[in-house]
């Protein structure tokens, strides 16, 4: 990319490109890290294809790329634009999310074969794994948005945090509850202080802290900034908690309860297919609820502006 293109597109687009790639990178890393092996391969291949195409295009047509990025930056950063675009997307996202979730859950509950040892109780996986992964993914997204909000003071990033936190809290709760109910017939206990369980509990606490802080501060910009700082600090904390409890537990109880323990573990395609449907369905559900909440928040923050009055009336 020529420096000419950078200077012409201006600093905002440059910042936007950097933050976008950082966010994508974080999300991709997380996906690959947390995915079941088959999905990991699919995502890796997809990611590489996307990356090669993206960077080939960026080198071949730098001006067009910068202009597009700049346009996106301004559109995403501008509340009325975001409100309208989100409004256009929402119906489609609702349809996709509903279809994926319903098909995935019905398939998983009624049509997938039972587990060779756990029998039918493993069917909770179609609820538990998507919820856990959505809770983690939402926290990573919140941390990235927090960083963007702190560094560039982007109003939309603050709104994003406010929209993500309730979804993340609910998903963490779902993950904990379904995990506990699954644990009783499988491990013989509702709860153990295993690293994975403990870090999910802390994740829930962090979500609740972000929500509480946002509600405690009157001024929306100030609340947004404070929540951004807390969510960035929280990302570091969740990572440390995960490893600290792992090390600590090792002395007392073994982490014997891990489910997909080894890297070479396998999940049969007939069980994986509905699981993937459920996972993608949950990600679309994430998009739906976050967009709905973000639109509400935009309306409230901009309630004095003319476009909101037209929109509402």
């Amino acid at each position: 990319m020529s420096s000419d293109a950078v200077s012409r597109a201006g600093l905002p687009a440059h910042f936007f490109a950097v933050s976008l790639s950082a966010g994508l990178l974080a999300l991709m890393t997380w996906f690959i890290w947390s995915a079941p092996p088959v999905a990991r391969t699919v995502w890796l291949a997809g990611g590489w294809t996307f990356g090669v195409l993206f960077y080939y295009g960026a080198l071949r047509y730098p001006h067009w790329y910068w202009q597009t990025l700049e346009r996106w930056y301004h559109q995403l950063g501008s509340p009325p634009h975001f409100y309208r675009i989100a409004g256009l997307w929402l119906p489609w996202l609702v349809i996709i999310a509903t279809v994926l979730c319903v098909v995935g859950v019905v398939w998983g509950l009624a049509f997938a074969p039972p587990h060779h040892e756990q029998g039918n109780s493993y069917r909770i996986i179609y609820l538990h794994v998507p919820a856990s992964s959505a809770a983690l993914m939402a926290y990573v997204a919140m941390g990235v948005a927090g960083l963007v909000a702190l560094v560039w003071r982007l109003k939309m990033a603050e709104i994003a945090i406010k929209a993500i936190a309730p979804f993340g809290a609910i998903m963490a709760a779902v993950s904990l509850i379904s995990g506990a109910i699954w644990g009783r017939p499988t491990w013989g206990t509702y709860w153990i202080w295993d690293a994975r369980l403990t870090s999910m509990l802390i994740l829930l606490f962090m979500y609740l802290g972000v929500i509480a802080l946002q509600n405690a501060i009157r001024d929306p910009r100030q609340a947004g900034q404070a929540a951004s700082l807390l969510s960035v600090v929280g990302v570091i904390n969740v990572v440390i908690v995960r490893y600290s409890v792992d090390w600590w537990q090792s002395l007392h109880q073994g982490s014997s309860m891990s489910m997909f323990g080894t890297a070479g573990s396998a999940i049969h395609p007939s069980m994986l297919a509905p699981l993937l449907l459920c996972m993608f369905g949950t990600y679309f559900l994430f998009a739906v609820t976050v967009l709905v909440r973000a639109r509400t928040e935009i309306l409230w923050r901009e309630r004095k502006s003319a476009w909101v009055r037209e929109e509402v009336a």
Binding site: A110, P113, N120, L127, I170, I181, L285, T296, W300, R303
Partner: protein
Amino acid sequence: MHFDSLAELWQMGVHGPWVWSAYGICVALIALNVVWAVHRGRRVRRDIRGLIRRQSLQEKQ
């Protein structure tokens, strides 16, 4: 379908209570999340309409 009848699907071998209670509680939570978000959106729209009305009343006076 893996199960022969709806009754078997409901019982799921011995695991019916676990599976169905997990799905019941958690689907209710997720649905609540969506309903809550939509409800708040409606309330905010209503509140803003109220604001506009009050303001136009004040302007008339």
